[in-house]
Structures are given as structure tokens and as C-alpha cells.
Amino acid sequence: MNMKYEIVIGLETHVELSTESKIFCSCGGHSASNEPNDCVCPACSGMPGMLPVMNKRVVELAVTAGLMLNCNINRYTTFDKKNYYYPDLPCAYQITQLNHPICTDGLVSLKTSQGARDIRIKQIHMEEDAGKLVHGGNYSYVDFNRTSVPLIEIVTQPDFRSAEEVVTYLNKLKAMFRSGGISECEEGAMRCDVNISVRPEGSTEFGVRTEIKNMSSFDAIEKAIQYESQRHIDALEYELEELVQETRRFDDASGKTFAMRNKETEADYRYFPDANLMPIVISDEWLEQIKANKPEEVDEKARLYREAGISDKEIDMLIGNNKISKLLDDVVDAGCNAKDAAAWILTDCAGILRKDGKSLAELEITAEQLSYVIKMVDAGNINRGAGKKILIAVVEQGVDPEAYCKEQGFDAKVDTAMIESVIDKVLDQSAQAVEDFKNGKTKAAQAIFGACMRELKGAGDVAIIKEILDKKLNER
């Protein structure tokens, strides 16, 4: 009793690739299709006479993913057929890679609250997705829009020791693949099978392993790992049930896992080489070309952001969104401060969009527009509040910030003399408030300050206005 246990986890992650067309035919637009079976051809619906023809882009994206995960890129790679019957699988086999996967032996380094951990990548292979079944009434309907959508499957060694590590890894993959143009990693485009076992701490033997299939939400994955590892520990501690090697599914509603099939009833998939697809040989030239087109390493980019003083939380948001990090880079190139610009984007712009029920990904602003606003504030021509007001107009209505400033009178030359004259005017008009202030009512100063700000209509730096006002109040 009360023995300490170690959780051992290996992951298989399926990621949908961002390609124009499917993996073995020219059907495109599957992610945008609304009607069932409107993105289907004789090839991806399994009709006789059609032959698979390899989509070159899939190879390039798989290699790019392999490079990002520090894998060996295998120059000779082949496809195999995996046989099983299911109505959403039109050929009754899936084309995948068993014997010669495209990438092997990679490494990903993680940092979590438990410290650093290296996760070894066993392999990455390319494969096609299956279709979808829709059940209704007395019938089941088959939708082949997703059949032959290209996937890569990333298989790790059993190197994870906690749910936190798993989720950190998945977030890292997501960020990498988004920034690398490999996958949008939208809802459902990343699916995981989790292999899990527990063993007494210090033991080098593996315990009985179960596999939880097909989860896409990170939240569910975390809960499933917590539930399943506790089930294993309880089984070992109290010997209430015997653990068997089996496949399980996670039920989100109850937060529990349930057995699907065990080792004895596991299908024999009868893998064998696909004779319709010739082995792919990746030449030196091709590999160099793929390397040259690979976007900047995520880690390198994160390091640069960190050096510029951007917070880790902000970096995560930036790395996960290629469009936004590019906007930031462009604004910085235009001469703005990186930390400041990051706040403008991730706090101000995000806030404006949130109010309208939109996400940051929907931000429509150019680097020129944003840098104009930031520079106006930096130069002290307007205060931050006014800057934000302009930003709202740009983000919501797409106005030209320069024209908008003119229209709103933000373009006037702002200097100390101008601010002083406005303050004098306000003080002259607020004799009662000045009197109250002099009698010790500090709140009166607030009201006077507000009146000044209103009169200045956002022009001028707040600190300077405050300083001048204080001086003038005390002089009276």
C-alpha cells in the first residue's frame, strides 16, 4: 500500500495536412465542403479502374514536420495497405506506411512544472484519412468527403510521465505545425491515441498497457490520462480488477474510459506493400529545397521574442498564430518597440475583437495602419486612450488611421504651450473647483483633470498634462 507509481505514456498523433488536394487524387476543398460527398471522385470513393497518384506536397510537408522534430529523413519511403472492413473506408483498406516510414528517430524537448523532458519520436508516417458515417433513423449514411485527406501520424516512444507533459507536447506540436504551414490544427484536425501504463517508481519493466483511441480535445486527453492512470494504480493497489492489454475509449460525459476490444479480438490488418505506388526516393536536391523553404524554427523565434521582453504567455499566443506573429514582425520592422507592439496586438486588438465575438485570427489590420497608430502615441501626439479609439475605428470599420486622425482633430501640433493654454482656459472656467481644491478637497483636482482631458480630446501625453496641471493648480 501507498507505493509510489510512475505513469508511462506514449502518443500517436494524427495531424491533417494543409494541402490543396487529397493525398492520392486531385479532389480539393475538403475542409470547406458543406454538402456530404461534394468533394469526391472515382479514386477516393474506391471505384474500380482508378489508381492512386502521390501528392508531392504531402511528402514535402511530412519532411518539414520531420525536420522540425529533429528526425532522420528516410530517402527511400514506401506505402503499405492496411486491410479492414468499415463502410466509411471505400476500398476496405487504408494506404499508410508500415515498413519504410518517411521520418524516424526524432526528439522533442519539453519544459513543464515538473522540469525538462526529452521525448523521443519513433517515426512519422504519411497516410490517408477515412470517411464519415452519419446515423439517422433506420439508416446510416456514408460521407466520403474526408476519405484520402492527407494525414501524418507522429508516434513517440513511451517517454511521457504525466498528463501535463502530454498536453505541453501537443501544444508545442500545434504551434510548430501552424507556424510551419504544415497544418492549421483546427478542431478535430489533430487526433490522438494514448498508450498508457503504470509501474512502481524505480522499476524499469513496463506495466500492462492500454490504448485510449481517437481523442481530439486536449482537455479530454488530460482527463482521460488522469482517469486511466488512476484506474491502473487502483488495479495494482487493491487488486480489484486485472489489467489486460486492450483498446479503450474515453467518454467525455462520464469522464471514464471503457473497453472496446482486447488483444485476442484485435483485428489482423494484413499489412502488405501497395503495388500501385512506386517507392518514393528523396534526392539531395529535393531535400535541400524542402529545407530552404522551411520556415524559421519556432524555438528560434520564441528566443528572439523573449529577448525583446515579450512575456511567455504572449509568446505562446504569437507562435500559435502565423498571421499574428508576422504582423508583429512587420510592425517591429516599421520601427516600433516589440514589447509595446505585442501589447497593442494581443491586448488591445484582441480586446476589440472579443467584444465583437471574434477571435484574434480574424484580425484585419495592416502593419502600416497599426504602426501609424503606435507611432502617434509614442511621439506624444495623442495619448494611449485616443490611440485605442483610433484602433477601434481601424479594426471595426477599416478606416485609414491618418485620415481618421485629421477628421477627429488628432493631427494638431501638440506642444507644452498648447497644453498650457488649454489648462489655463479650463482653470479659468472652473473657479469653484479650484477653490474647493485649495480648501483641501483633493477630489476636485480629479474633476479638473477630467475637464482638461476632455478639452484636449486625447492630444498630449497624460503624464505631461498631469505635471503641468499640478504646477498650475499650486500656483493659483
Partner: protein, 392 residues
């Protein structure tokens, strides 16, 4: 004889066997399983012929998925032990016919009917639009009355096709019957000649004599690779066929059983009704050799045997320009029960399997068969032409 499963054009000059797709024309590959299937596109070979002005006369009957001896077990045929396409060509109603050679049925059919069939080098003719069973060795080829007729049609259909990943890069191939044959060396395989009956042996001897008269030297050699090749191809072909016909499940097209209570019964009942006994035997055999326990000793070993055979045949073809061998054991087949078909077919395919296994060209002509080096079709056609000319 019932030539056609479906006629298309009365004055057509090319017949197409029912394992090759013609847009809009029901294509069932001789099987009840594909009853009523109308393809949305034509095979590349058909398209190329139509572009040159040839008209397709119709779809000739074939044995279910081309698995039997010569077409006797077609769901739509009349059970005759003759090839419908070969007989049609012989009758003169069409100039040529297209067929798919997966396990020699086309070459046997041509031999029995006394016409020519060429199974070209693997990868020279697009398999786009072939109802595929054994992708690694099947090739689309041509039946014609003589070698000259074969060469003409082959020159139209051969050449690279982007739609077939196994298609070789060469844009176009030219075939002729005018390669000089005098001085060429041909060998006869002793072990295979011994398997032939007196009628076939007489044809083989006559062919050899005619070659000699044209200045070709003919020698007999011993070689045990053909039995080995036949077993390896039996395993690979059945495995690939089992996999490729698994798409015929009653869900999407073709035959679906009327009675079923769930998806498993839909699969089982549709396939039980849709496939004939021979196809089922091939599926079971193929499924077995691919199973976890058997894969290494059967399928994987066959892949290695394929390399060994290729090297062995290459050695023979380094010494000889072509191999002369029977295409069948008999000049005429007798009716038999489908339950014996699996054994009969793979006994008979000892004459043909090696060409499917290693992708070399094989020409059935004058009731016998020639095999040669990859891309050496024109030499095989020229050798046959020299014999055919003498017979005229």
C-alpha cells in the same frame, strides 16, 4: 459463342474485354458483384484508341475478374472453354481486342483460338481504367490475328500516363515486326515442353522449325525457375486480388444482398452471392498468405523469390534473345467443375506466371508462347511474324 457482355457500336473495330472500363458502358468484369456498374470514365488505352478514330465494338465476356483459364466462369457468358475476345478476333468481326493479362488467361485464350496476344513489359501501357486485381503484375495487352495487327494497336496505346503511378516515363513506344531475326538465338525450356500434350508439342516443334528456317538458332535448355515463379505469383496474385476486390462490399455500388440485418450481414451476404467459387478460393488463399502468422513465410518470401527469378531469367536472356515455350498444356480444354478451378488454373499458369511475376513481355502466337527481355516486344513480334508469314 456469346462474345459480348455488351455491344456498343455495330461497325466498331476494337473489342474491349469486360475488365476494362469504357465510359457509360456497364462494366462487370464477368462478376455478378459488379452487376450494373457504369464507369464514369474510360480506360486510358480506350481513350487513346478513340482519339485515333478507332471505334469500340463492345465489351467481350471474361471469366470473373480474369481469374479462370480462358473465360469459362463468367457470370454473363455461356461457359465455353474459349476466350470470347480471341474468338471474336479470329472471326474477323473486329481488327483487334484489348485484354488484361493477370494470370495468363488472355495468352491461353489466344493460343486455343490461334490468334496472337501480347502482354507487354510492365509499365508500358497505362492500367488506368483496368478493373485491377493484381497490380504488381497485371498488364493491359492486345489480341490480333497476327503480330502485325498487335504491333499497330500497341503503338497507339503504349506510353506514359500521369494517371498511373506505375507507368514508365517513356512518352511513346513504337512496335514493329521488321526486326531482323536471322542469327537470333532462342531457347526452349525442357521442363515446360514435357508438360505439353502431343498437339501442343507439335505446334511448338513446328514453330521452332519455322524459326530455324528463318536463320534463328533454337536450343533446348533446362530451367527450374518456372515452377518457382508460378508459386510465387500464385501467392502475390491471390494476396493482391483479395485486397483489391475487398472494395466490392455491397455498400457503394454493384451487387447488394436483399436480406441483411446489420452491416456484417450486408457484407457477408452480398459477397457470398456476388462472387463465384473461384474468386472466393482466391480471396481465402490471399487472405491466408497475408495473415500475421503466414506473412513472412509466404508473402514476404514470394517477394524475395521474385528477385531471384528475375535474376535467373535475366541470365538466360543474356545468352538467348527469347524463350520459346507452350502457352497451355493442351490445345483444347475440357469442361470441368468450378470447385476444381483453383488447382487447375495454378497448374496451368506455370507456362505464363513468370512474365507477370517479373514484368517481361510475353507473346502468345501460333498456339505457343515467346518471352523476351524488357522492352523487346518488337523482337518477339518479329520472330512470330517470320513464322506467321510462312504459314500464309
Amino acid at each position: 459463342m456469346k462474345y459480348y457482355a455488351k455491344t456498343l457500336c455495330e461497325n466498331g473495330t476494337i473489342a474491349v474485354d469486360d475488365t476494362i472500363l469504357v465510359k457509360g458502358a456497364e462494366t462487370a468484369a464477368g462478376s455478378r458483384m459488379l452487376e450494373g456498374f457504369e464507369p464514369l470514365f474510360s480506360a486510358e488505352a480506350v481513350t487513346r484508341l478513340e482519339e485515333k478514330g478507332y471505334k469500340i465494338s463492345g465489351k467481350t465476356n471474361v471469366g470473373e475478374f480474369g481469374l479462370d483459364l480462358v473465360g469459362e466462369f463468367s457470370y454473363y457468358g455461356d461457359g465455353e472453354l474459349k476466350s470470347a475476345a480471341a474468338e471474336l478476333v479470329k472471326s474477323g468481326e473486329v481488327q483487334a481486342a484489348l485484354g488484361v493479362d493477370m494470370n495468363g488467361a488472355t495468352r491461353r485464350g489466344a493460343a486455343l483460338s490461334g490468334v496472337d496476344f501480347l502482354k507487354p513489359t510492365y509499365g508500358t501501357v497505362s492500367r488506368y481504367g483496368v478493373v485491377s486485381c493484381a497490380a504488381s503484375g497485371e498488364q493491359l495487352g492486345v489480341y490480333a490475328k497476327n503480330a502485325d495487327g498487335v504491333a499497330k494497336v500497341m503503338s497507339v496505346i503504349a506510353g506514359h500516363d500521369d494517371k498511373d503511378g506505375t507507368s514508365l516515363p517513356e512518352k511513346q513506344y513504337e512496335y514493329s515486326v521488321t526486326v531482323p531475326v536471322s542469327g537470333k538465338k532462342v531457347c526452349i525450356i525442357k521442363e515446360l515442353a514435357e508438360k505439353a500434350d502431343a498437339d501442343v508439342l507439335a505446334k511448338l516443334t513446328a514453330f521452332a522449325d519455322a524459326l530455324k528456317a528463318s536463320g534463328v538458332s533454337v536450343e533446348e535448355i533446362s530451367c527450374d525457375l518456372f515452377e518457382l515463379a508460378n508459386t510465387a505469383w500464385e501467392i502475390l496474385m491471390c494476396a493482391e486480388t483479395c485486397n483489391n476486390v475487398s472494395r466490392y462490399d455491397g455498400v457503394k455500388f454493384g451487387h447488394r444482398a436483399e436480406k441483411y440485418r446489420n452491416i456484417d450481414e450486408l457484407y457477408v451476404n452480398s459477397r457470398t452471392e456476388g462472387f463465384n467459387f473461384l474468386t472466393k478460393a482466391v480471396i481465402l488463399y490471399g487472405s491466408d498468405v497475408l495473415s500475421k502468422n503466414r506473412y513472412k513465410d509466404c508473402y514476404d518470401k514470394s517477394l524475395r523469390v521474385r528477385r531471384v527469378v528475375a535474376e535467373g531469367i535475366e541470365k538466360i536472356l543474356a545468352e538467348y534473345d527469347a524463350i520459346l515455350l507452350p502457352a497451355t498444356s493442351k490445345a483444347q480444354y475440357e469442361a470441368y467443375d468450378i470447385k476444381e478451378a483453383f488447382g487447375k488454373v495454378f497448374e496451368e499458369s506455370v507456362f505464363t506466371a513468370v512474365a507477370n511475376l517479373i514484368g517481361i513481355p510475353a507473346l502468345s502466337a501460333c498456339g505457343v508462347q515467346l518471352m523476351g527481355k524488357q522492352f523487346d516486344e518488337s523482337l518477339l513480334l518479329s520472330l512470330a511474324h517470320s513464322v506467321e508469314r510462312k504459314g500464309e
